[in-house]
């Protein structure tokens, strides 16, 4: 079991280190920070190695990309706190709609439109929705994976849903004030 885990970590590194580095660099635009992000990603991968199945499967790829992206955003926020808008502040510029996703969805013309809107969703929000609804992780597990508090997980999840609704409403031409 021990040797198997180590082999899995080594395989993950050999297979994905350049991809993770590229994702981190795109966010951070700094080689050293991007390397730090990859290293921190592997710390998280090691902590969660039991949750990772086959190295080549889509679920594994998505899982490590989500970790890497969120760690990179955290690093970016840490280094550029003054110039960046922290993710938790996003909600402050998001109008507080009365929340009824279903009504918005029914107003749309099918799933293709929904997919289009999802592609526009802020990636960390899509990440947290994926971890919760596809990977089926609890809020506690997500908090450990993303290195944020459980309270922040709840807040971010709620904002992700609101943000999705906002995108759907925009399509209907609702003015956002």
């Amino acid at each position: 079991m021990n040797d198997y885990s180590i082999k899995k970590i080594e395989d993950l590194y050999l297979k994905y280190n350049k991809i993770l580095y590229t994702i981190a660099y795109r966010i951070l635009n700094n080689h050293q920070w991007a390397q730090d992000a990859v290293q921190a990603t592997f710390v998280k991968i090691i902590e969660n190695i039991a949750k990772i199945g086959d190295v080549d499967c889509n679920k594994t790829k998505v899982f490590i990309v989500i970790i890497c992206r969120n760690i990179s955003i955290n690093i970016y926020n840490k280094h550029k706190r003054s110039s960046v808008l922290p993710i938790e502040k996003f909600d402050e510029i998001t109008p507080d709609y009365s929340f009824c996703l279903e009504e918005e969805l029914i107003g749309l013309e099918g799933l293709s439109l929904l997919k289009e809107k999802i592609n526009m969703l802020y990636e960390p929000y899509a990440d947290i929705i994926t971890l919760r609804y596809i990977f089926d992780y609890s809020e506690k597990e997500i908090s450990k994976i993303l290195d944020i508090t459980e309270q922040n997980v709840r807040v971010r999840l709620s904002r992700a849903k609101k943000s999705l609704m906002k995108l759907l409403r925009e399509d209907k031409g609702v003015d956002v004030v």
Binding site: I6, K18, I23, A34, Q39, V62, L121, A126, I129, R132
Partner: protein, 251 residues
């Protein structure tokens, strides 16, 4: 049929379906992003440095895993050992309390140790020292018990070394006697006159003994390792008991 979206259960299920669909779309997007990156990797890290850092992480992890494995093995063995020890103690206690032979063996074992200690203390008694030395040096007294405390002014009067018994008679200047007999007899064969006598159950060297007082004579009888001891004299009870307690095996 119309859908009632005000129904809470329906609303929750629909929410879950929408968010699951969102997740699936996101997975597709990430996979597309990975494929694009693979096709066009043009940002390269300091590979050597990154490899070293990650190898360090993996080594740390391997060390922690090994330590955890050892700890788990130790915990597992400890649990088995604890269960075994508790079972052993429980069984021993039950046997000790329910089987006479074992109990006697256990007490004798303890008393043997106590006797070693007694030997040291009693030998220092200046009154009995020379008598004890004589008994120790007597080549005819082997594989038997001899006293390491002799009441004051008592000396050996006679030693009767028979086939199954040894009797040592001590006498002082006032013609007071102290009889000490040890015989390889079973308890049932030993006859004691207890008619109109005061009897008391006492402990000698941790073993049950009978004290019989008739007229002016005090007798103490007990059994140890298949040997029956009989000590009687007109001396004080305390002196006799002290004598009995001092008996020690001589090879």
């Amino acid at each position: 049929m119309s859908l009632d979206i005000s129904d809470i259960k329906f609303k929750n299920k629909l929410d879950d379906a929408i968010f699951s669909y969102t997740g699936l779309c996101h997975i597709e997007n990430i996979n597309n992003e990975i494929e694009q990156i693979k096709k066009n990797i043009n940002i390269n890290p300091d590979q050597k440095e990154m490899d070293l850092n990650i190898q360090g992480l993996i080594n740390d992890y391997a060390r922690k895993q090994r330590r955890q494995k050892r700890l788990n093995s130790f915990k597992k063995v400890s649990k088995i050992a604890a269960v075994f020890l508790i079972t052993l103690i429980t069984v021993s206690t039950i046997l000790m309390s329910s089987v006479d032979a074992l109990r006697i063996f256990f007490w004798n074992m303890l008393i043997e140790q106590k006797e070693d200690y007694s030997t040291i203390t009693v030998e220092k008694d200046e009154f009995s020292n020379h008598v004890v030395e004589i008994l120790m040096e007597d080549k005819n007294l082997n594989n038997c018990y001899i006293p390491f405390y002799i009441p004051e002014n008592f000396d050996i009067e006679k030693i009767i070394n028979a086939e199954n018994s040894i009797t040592i008679i001590f006498k002082d200047m006032d013609s007071n006697y102290l009889f000490f007999e040890q015989s390889k007899k079973s308890r049932s064969e030993f006859m004691v006159d207890t008619e109109n006598a005061y009897t008391e159950t006492i402990s000698i060297q941790g073993l049950e003994a009978k004290l019989i007082q008739k007229e002016e004579t005090t007798a103490v009888l007990w059994q140890k390792n298949g040997i029956v001891f009989n000590v009687h004299s007109r001396l004080d009870k305390e002196e006799i008991l002290k004598f009995c307690e001092s008996l020690n095996f001589k090879n």
